[in-house]
Amino acid sequence: MDLSQALEVASHTDPGMVREHNEDSIASIAEKGLVVLADGMGGYNAGEVASGMATTVITTELRQLLDNKAPHEVDPQSGQKAALKMLQEQVTKANTSIYQASQSQPQYAGMGTTLVIALFYDNKMMVAHIGDSRLYRLRGDEFSQVTKDHSLLQEQVDAGMLTKEQAKHSANKNLVTRALGIDPAVEAEIHEYDAQPGDIYLLCSDGLSDMVGDDDIGMALQALGANLNLAAQQLVQMANDNGGRDNVSVILIKILREYPARQGLASKIFGWFR
């Protein structure tokens, strides 16, 4: 099913004002309803290699899988949607590829990447994430963070050691507790959400969320939602105007209309005869 009529996608990535390399990597396949963002880490160019591997492996593999199987189909044995298994398997595959490269090549030792994937199907969105790259949603006037970081800071907030306000001033912003490619196995956090026409989703690296407050991000999306490309550029520009200390990447997805999954063949024929 081609989703490019139902989803508008815009993205922008920038090395920022301080870094020479851009270790972020983004990819999207609008007609399949797939967007992927990764923020790499590791010495020299290893971060770019890790994030690039993650987005490439996941988009190429998922493109093929989605050609053969509809993500909304429910597996009769597990009772879970095909999308869940697809995402789990591709995250594992990307993790293995990065981990093996880092083990076999000394210049890539210790490389890893954060990851956030959104897959849209049947008026739904499934989100998988690892680390501190985020997904936000603007629905009507309400702008909220959907994913919860896998970071030391988030754990401290959860434990009640810090308030959200204090967390903004913490010096431990850069420590993630989960990443792709660091260990032989990793588990992505995966959840499914309802998507509604008019929703705008934002995937971003910490280069945006650390430099620009949530209120300002929400304001920019609300003001510029009618022009998604401009909104993506504006967000990157705001991060750079505030100092741009890290690579900044954003992917925006606007739901233009409903996109229910096509009925199965049997029910289609049944519908004919009714």
């Binding site: 501190d132 903004k168 010096a171 850069n174 420590l175 993630v176 003001a223 510029l224």
Partner: protein, 261 residues
């Protein structure tokens, strides 16, 4: 590593590096920082340090713990915070990072692996290895600590200049800008551009946005078939810098942009 500078009546007595996960403060000798003064409780407070962040917690002391003049139970220490215990002051200096390049490196995202935080603390400097760490003589000797203290404070100053994780730098103080409606029912009405983004026009018909940036104010076309005009000339697709007394026209309304004097 973050440190505390202990002083009394403006005399610097001691510098304590927060190398341990828990640094205790109190009158009794087993504390990491012993302050032998009756205003200080036996176990007065503790500083819990997690990587680059330090938290101060009062341990139910009789006279309480003040930070920057306010009594606190629990406090997330920020660079240059002053902790007061009776007559004693402890100034908190967060980790100094010489050079901006290093600071940038430090901010790179890193993976925190389970167990990394249980690493044994770095060996303490030999100077404090013998005596109980941070013991304070209740009657400091006259002039010598002062001269010593001056150097300490002098060294500490640059630390404040490069906090490891300052919140996003507020935009440099900039000139205030206004819009005044020149036509329509509300002609003459003024509005200050206080937000980073201000949208103009009618959604679905013609919308432009004015963005406030460190370099000044810019107008960009957002939606609609027609682009706004500045002094009669339609703007291009890119952001257009606004000059004092520019006249913007969009959706049939004229507004003037000007800097407030």
């Amino acid at each position: 590593m973050a440190k505390l500078i202990l002083s009394m009546d403006g005399l610097v007595l001691k510098e304590i590096v927060l190398s341990k996960e828990r640094t205790t403060i109190g009158r009794k000798p087993h504390n990491d920082i012993q302050i032998d003064n009756l205003a200080v409780s036996g176990e007065h407070a503790v500083i819990v340090t997690i990587l680059a962040d330090s938290f101060l917690e009062d341990l139910g002391s009789t006279n309480g713990t003040c930070v920057n003049g306010k009594t606190v139970k629990k406090h997330f220490l920020q660079n240059n915070d002053v902790i007061e215990l009776g007559k004693y002051k402890l100034k908190y200096i967060s980790e100094a990072l010489p050079g901006a390049a290093k600071a940038a490196d430090f901010e790179k995202t890193m993976i925190l692996r389970p167990g990394a935080m249980r690493k044994p603390p770095e060996p303490q400097p030999p100077a404090t290895a013998g005596a109980p760490h941070g013991h304070v003589d209740p009657a400091p000797a006259g002039a010598s600590p002062k001269s010593h203290g001056d150097t300490l404070v002098g060294m500490a100053a640059p630390a404040g200049a490069t906090p490891a994780a300052a919140p996003p730098a507020p935009a440099a103080p900039m000139r205030r800008a206004m819009l005044q409606l020149l036509s329509g029912a509300n002609a003459g009405k003024e509005m200050e551009l206080t937000k980073p983004l201000t949208t103009l026009g009618k959604p679905g018909v013609q919308v432009a946005v004015i963005t406030r940036r460190p370099q000044g104010f810019f107008i960009t076309h957002v939606e609609g078939a027609n682009k706004p005009t500045i002094n009669g000339t339609p703007i291009a697709l890119q952001a257009h810098a606004l000059n004092d007394h520019d006249v913007i026209e969009l959706a049939g309304v004229k507004v003037e942009f000007f800097y407030k004097t």
